[in-house]
Amino acid sequence: MKPVFLQGGTLVDPSQRLNEVGNLLIADGEIAGFGRIEAPDGAEVIDCEGLVVSPGFIDVHCHLREPGREDVETIATGARAAAAGGFTAVCAMPNTDPVTDNQAAVGFIVRQGQRAKAARVYPIGAISVGQEGKVLAEFGEMVGAGAVAVSDDGKPVASAQLMRTALEYARTFRIPVIDHCEEPTLSAGGAMNEGIVSAQLGLKGIPAEAEEIMVIRDILLARLTGGHVHLAHMSTKGSVELIRWGKERGINVTAEVCPHHLSLTEERVKGYDTNAKMNPPLRTQKDVDALREAVKDGTIDLVATDHAPHHYDEKEREFADAPNGIVGLETALAVLITNLVEPGHLTFPDLVDRMACTPARLFNLPGGSLKRGSAADVSVFDPGARWKVDASQFASKGRNSPYNGMTLVGRPACTVVAGSVVFRSGIPVRGREGERMNRVRG
């Protein structure tokens, strides 16, 4: 494999407090050096002037729909969408058909991920057999086959006893137990946040408390068991306060937030746009403000997309009947730069930390650093590029984006996984002899 030389970008790597202009050399799938170094003979030189070079983003929460709904997304299209969004690795949720609840299913996802030759794909195994919330799935065998965490995802673990057992049992394998916090009797039939907008639109609401009751339950169970609970897609101010409470007491709780919960509110549902329908639902400005603050101060550890492609027929229907979820891989970076970095809520190093370093650390994954010897998973992005989102151009099969048509700032330029360039968009590339070639992704 030819060495890759990323030249003249701003190297942003919070794992070593790096934030300076320099070069980055990648060889043999590892970071071989950085700073004021020269390109070795035979290296593929990529001009990164004006661009940010950072550890590759890792999305610990996405839905790739394979096996079961290959019409909506496959592991290959999902992994390519991830690469196009600057992600070098994604964790696939187990709500597939059949459910990813055994070593064979986990192994299938690993193999399909390798064949995709784009972003790395790590399976998340189910907590319970069939995600039915009854019998614990075989964590040990799934971890042996490549699972990096367990979760029953969209089917929240209603039984406190099962959640307790999962947290205890997962300790042996040192994996996080991810919970989608939703008290099912409170949220039943809900289509959006409960509040003035749901009351006006005549849609059944999901109160913030449906999430918060499970957040505090899970935090208390983490305290009881010493297990690592990771709370998926936090959406309310109350959840932030409860997580803060847990962390202050040294409880092993971590949490994620999605770009849409940091940028949109329930107001977006007016007009019954089904691309504003997801679970947890878009909340209020007060919640958005609290979540932004929590990402900044570290109460919420990382950002994850909850990428959830749906067929357009399924979204093109009555609001209450439409499925939950939006695609997020190819807009995440721009949504975060536009809504958090540009207004001054978050610095670029903090952004890189929440999208790359912290996910790698908490999920014990390769990457997350530009230190010499680290896996050569690198994101290069243009922090100032203004572009209009056109969902029809997504690498994902999903088109269900609430950002379609919006102008955003910040765009992935090049993604390197294990030393191979897997995505490149309009970057001038210099060959060894110094001649410039304008290679555009086909």
């Binding site: 409960e194 749901s198 009351a199 639109l201 005549g202 849609l203 019954y272 229907r317 609001f319 209450a320």
Partner: protein
């Protein structure tokens, strides 16, 4: 065609007070048509209207049909059972098929909130919302308001309380929007389990006890209690509902003034309203039904591009520049 109301009537939230007054004023001359021996004027002659009822309805569907026929429109009724909908056709496909048949207007009743807007966004025909889920039922709101206006004249400062299941009521929402836009003071009264949690943000007064509402109000709009709410656990029983929230003769007799009684129907006599109240001297429940036809004629006429100032003339002849043949 787009008139003074825009293309569609989806809810009273979108209308201004002025537009609501315009509809009510336009309804006035249409009231008289229903009193004639020959109840027909040619204002919508040549227009084709589909009444698309995905949810059962007797009163609203018949009221719309009379309004359409009395304006000489050609109408087709489609109900969910026995149509392609029962074969699994999606709403978007139904909409496209209707559009392909070159119709002028669709009146839609649907169990999903937002269904009327969904349709309106996808077809060029005028769409009239005849009730979408728990969102709005604008023509019901308009006919309630017309009935109140018949009794009170100007509604500014008038105190009207909507009683019952506000949470699931599209009628309540349309009434709240319409009445507040006309300057009325609006209150709601019902068990808290049947009020939206965010009800205080609607800008209405809230009464926990029906006695307090009766003490305050000049008119009560009593909503139907849907029995499925009890199986869903919102309230314990119809018996207790009547004892705590029922609009009864005894409660009204204690009021200092006469209180106008409205009910959008169909009534559960002995549950939310007692028979001697429904049939009593201050009940305007049947006047609401009569006004319903006039209000719907006004809405159809205005959406079809009819000039409000010509509504009186349209009764005798054509509101759309056609020759008078009546």
């Amino acid at each position: 065609m787009t008139g003074t109301l825009g293309k569609d009537l989806l809810g009273l939230e979108e209308l201004t007070g002025e537009q609501i007054r315009l509809i009510l004023d336009t309804a006035e001359p249409f009231k008289e048509i229903s009193e004639r021996a020959i109840k027909k004027v040619p204002a919508l002659r040549g227009s084709t209207i589909v009444n698309l009822f995905f949810e059962n309805s007797t009163r609203t569907r018949i009221s719309f049909e009379f309004a359409e026929k009395r304006l000489s429109a050609d109408t087709v009724n489609v109900s969910a059972s026995g149509s392609s909908v029962s074969k699994g056709e999606t709403l978007v496909d139904t909409a496209r098929n209707l559009e392909a048949m070159r119709i002028d207007m669709v009146v839609i009743r649907h169990s999903a909130s937002g269904a009327a807007k969904f349709l309106a966004d996808r077809i060029q025909s005028n769409v009239i919302n005849a009730g979408d889920g728990t969102h709005e039922h604008p023509t019901q709101g308009l006919l309630d308001i017309l009935t109140l206006r018949d009794k009170f004249g100007d509604l500014k400062g008038r105190r009207i309380c909507i009683c019952g299941d506000i949470l699931h009521s599209r009628v309540a929402r349309s009434n709240i929007w319409g009445l507040t836009k006309l300057g009325a003071e609006v209150a709601v009264c019902g068990p808290r389990s049947l009020l939206p949690n965010a009800i205080d943000e609607f800008g209405v007064r809230i009464f926990d006890r029906i006695e307090e509402a009766i003490e305050w109000a000049e008119a009560l709009n009593v909503l139907r209690l849907q029995f499925e709410r009890m199986t869903a656990g919102y309230i314990p029983s119809a018996r207790e509902y009547n004892r705590v929230f029922g609009v009864t003769r005894e409660r009204l007799d204690r009021a200092r003034r006469d209180i106008l009684i409205l009910h959008p129907g169909p009534m559960n006599r002995g549950v939310e309203i007692d028979s001697d109240v429904a049939d009593g001297p201050h009940s305007v429940i049947l006047a609401q039904v009569t006004n319903g036809v006039a209000v719907r004629m006004a809405v159809l006429y205005l959406l079809a591009g009819g000039k409000p100032e010509l509504a009186e003339a349209a009764k005798g002849g054509s509101g759309r520049g056609r020759e008078d043949r009546e």
